[in-house]
């Protein structure tokens, strides 16, 4: 009996420790063990990182550009036709004429497409036709805390003699819209690319913090979310970002917080569709119509894709009844439960 217990503890530990090193799909493509270590342990480990960066750096540099027009920023070409990813505050107003400068100093006419003022993502199109050097975009959310990454850009503006400036570091934190790294950034770097060890773009330099080695990049996920609208030249603001893209107004009627397994219901509004479906505080919702709820934003998005009267199937873990189950809910109309905000009267009253 005791032996069995010990064995199960060992297995538990094994499971507990391994996901960390295998969390990143990028790492499985990198052969050297340093990419699965918590930190490099020897000069050989460090050399492996250096070699990996050098093996992809030249390609990265060819696709990295300086963008002039709203001050001087950086960007990265991600298609042969010359689509450029940059920061929203570098691309600026849609349709504005900008100049893109390649590594060798070649100046190209370009124009701003759309941007997101919420995420600070922006797109630019080189308008002169040609075949441009470009780099691959990493899949959304493919970079993880602790991953080795490198930043390239034109800090302080274009300088032919100096060339592009490299910085190497690690991912400190990642959220939906932002990657935080210890790569050092300064004015002029904005819009420049952050690469994973395979030379794929995982982020775009956006903001600096007071601390030198703590800076912020926009995620690929944030770009992809607003992609179509930015291509059309729209400005995406905080109000209409993500959660409101397809706001059809379907209403469930719960208060909730995020939970490792989905979302945790913390309250249910009386008579709401959630109440009728017997959802209660303490229940966990893991899926909506089969789609896994990875965070609160996704939950809001998935509910809002549906209008009043639409039926959705929730996968739930019930606190009170026990066990897992599927619950079908007919969504209501938000306005029946939460009165729409009336414009404030600023007149004589």
């Amino acid at each position: 009996m005791r032996k069995v217990t010990t064995a199960s503890i060992l297995i538990f530990h094994f499971l507990y420790l391994t996901p960390h090193s295998y969390s990143s799909p990028t790492n499985t493509q990198l052969k050297h063990p340093v990419f699965e270590k918590r930190a490099p342990e020897s000069p050989e480990d460090l050399l492996a990182i250096e070699k990996q960066v050098r093996s992809v750096l030249q390609t990265s540099k060819k696709a990295t550009v300086c963008i002039q027009g709203n001050g001087s920023g950086s960007g990265v070409i991600i298609s042969e036709e010359g689509l450029v990813l940059t920061a929203g505050h570098v691309s600026g107003e849609p349709d504005k004429k900008l100049t893109v400068v390649l590594q060798d100093g070649t100046k190209l006419e370009a124009k701003a497409l759309g941007r997101s003022s919420a995420a600070d993502s922006g797109l630019i199109q080189i308008t002169k036709e040609g075949k441009y050097p470009y780099v691959e975009l990493a899949p959304p959310a493919s970079v993880f805390k602790g991953d080795w990454i490198y930043a390239v850009g034109h800090p302080g503006g274009f300088d032919q003699e100096r060339g592009l400036v490299l910085r190497v570091g690690r991912v400190i934190h990642r959220s939906t819209d932002t990657i935080q790294t210890d790569c050092k950034l300064i004015g002029g770097d904005s819009g420049g690319p952050l690469f994973d060890m395979l030379g794929r773009v995982v982020g775009i330099h956006s903001r600096v913090s007071m601390k030198n080695e703590q800076n912020y990049h926009v995620t690929v996920r944030a770009f992809k979310r607003d992609w179509e609208r930015m291509l059309k030249g729209n400005i995406v603001s905080l109000d209409d970002s993500f959660a409101k893209i397809e706001r059809k107004g379907g209403f469930l009627g719960i208060k909730r917080v995020s939970h490792p397994k989905g979302i945790l219901v913390t309250g249910v509004i009386g008579n709401s569709p959630a109440a009728k479906a017997k959802l209660r505080a303490g229940d966990i919702i893991t899926h909506i119509n089969g789609a896994k709820i990875e965070n609160l934003n996704l939950f809001r998005y998935l509910i809002n894709k549906n209008g009043p009267g639409d039926k959705v199937v929730l996968d739930t873990i019930k606190r009170w009844d026990g066990g897992n189950g599927k619950v079908e809910v007919k969504l209501g109309n938000r306005n029946d439960f939460i009165p729409a905000k009336q414009p404030q009267n600023l007149g004589n009253g």
Binding site: E50, V165, L166, E213, G282
Partner: protein
């Protein structure tokens, strides 16, 4: 029954509370400092290179304040440091790699490279082993000791090796944008931070009519004249205040101490070196060193010295003089000694 409900409520509150804590942890779920680029674990991986850096670096003190680092170049006790960090300082002493207080003499300085030759007692620490290589590859790991040689800091060679054009000294004045071609002289309308002109008693509204022997007719003429001088050069100015002509001798300041203070990128860079330009060759790297950490060696992963750190330029840039240039300068300074 009441008890049961109370239990349930308590349980639920506790559950929610713990969830909130998990959320808070998630929010703070950052990579531990020790595992970051300049964290203890990562830096430790440098091994021998790190040991070498520590053993060949001394800290230079002026009165008890650490003002620079220096590189031990041989067992006779010769060292080099950044010369401009010694300007205006006195009562020098040093701290050895073993944290002992030692005496240090300044034997000579070289304005061109901004290096100074120092002498400490023989057989202190471990002299650097130089490696001569003209252009270091971007991405090569490098390490140096930080301020007061307290800890090792690491980074990579971040850009091409090249020369950095020199910057002239400055008066620290803003001039009247309206040039009147009929009138001689240019009016001063404002002063920059740490303006040496203001310090000498020049006032707003004063008109600069002469720099050294040259009469000034326009803004451009004034700026061209001043550009001929280096920081700390003393420049003779003739000023018209009302009807009175007054002569001033102004010691020009470093651009870094004056107009850089207004520059956005410099503002976000923290402390930088006052002399960060006018080098015939530099290696650019990203190690975030303080300006008081200049003068120490820059080592590669094998523990060989690529050069000597010479300037903290901005938030992303540190310059080192390559070993070849350092050795040439040492030879020159030693010859001048004899």
């Amino acid at each position: 029954m009441i008890l049961k409900i109370r239990l349930i409520i308590t349980f639920q509150v506790l559950t929610l509370f713990s969830i909130n804590i998990i959320e808070a942890q998630d929010f703070l779920d950052e990579l531990p400092t020790s595992r970051r680029l300049n964290g203890k674990q990562t830096v430790k991986a440098f091994g021998i290179a790190g040991d070498n850096a520590k053993l060949s670096t001394i800290t230079i003190l002026s009165d008890k304040k650490a003002i620079a680092l220096a590189t031990i170049i041989d067992s006779d006790g010769y060292c080099v440091t950044k010369a401009s960090e010694l300007e205006g300082q006195e009562a020098f002493s040093a701290i050895s790699p073993n944290s002992e207080k030692i005496a240090v003499d300044v034997l000579g300085t070289d304005k061109v490279t901004d290096l100074a030759l120092l002498k400490i007692e023989p057989n202190i620490g471990k002299p650097v082993k130089w490696i001569m290589q003209k252009d270091y590859s971007q991405g090569s790991w490098v390490c140096s000791m930080n301020h007061q040689a307290e800890s090792l800091m690491i980074g990579v060679v971040s850009a091409k090796s090249r020369s950095i054009k020199s910057r002239s000294g400055v008066l620290g004045v803003l001039l009247d944008p309206k040039d009147d071609p009929k009138k001689a002289g240019v009016a001063i309308v404002e002063f920059g931070p740490n303006s040496p002109a203001l310090k000498e008693g020049i006032a707003r509204g004063d008109i600069v009519i002469q720099v050294e022997e040259k009469e000034i007719m326009s803004r451009k003429e004034l700026s061209d004249e001043i550009k001929k001088f280096a920081p700390l050069d003393v420049v003779k100015l003739k000023i018209l205040r009302g009807d009175e002509g007054i002569a001033f001798n102004v010691t020009l300041n470093y651009m870094s101490n004056v107009f850089d203070m207004l520059d956005r990128n410099q503002k976000m860079s923290g402390l930088t070196s006052k002399r960060k330009a006018g080098f015939s060759d530099v290696i650019q790297h990203e190690i975030p060193l303080k300006p008081m950490a200049m003068g120490g060696p820059l080592l590669n992963l094998e523990g060989m010295a690529l050069g000597v750190n010479i300037a903290r330029s901005d938030r992303v840039t540190t310059f080192a003089l390559p070993s070849e240039l350092v050795l040439e300068t040492i030879t020159r300074l030693k010859t001048n000694q004899k």
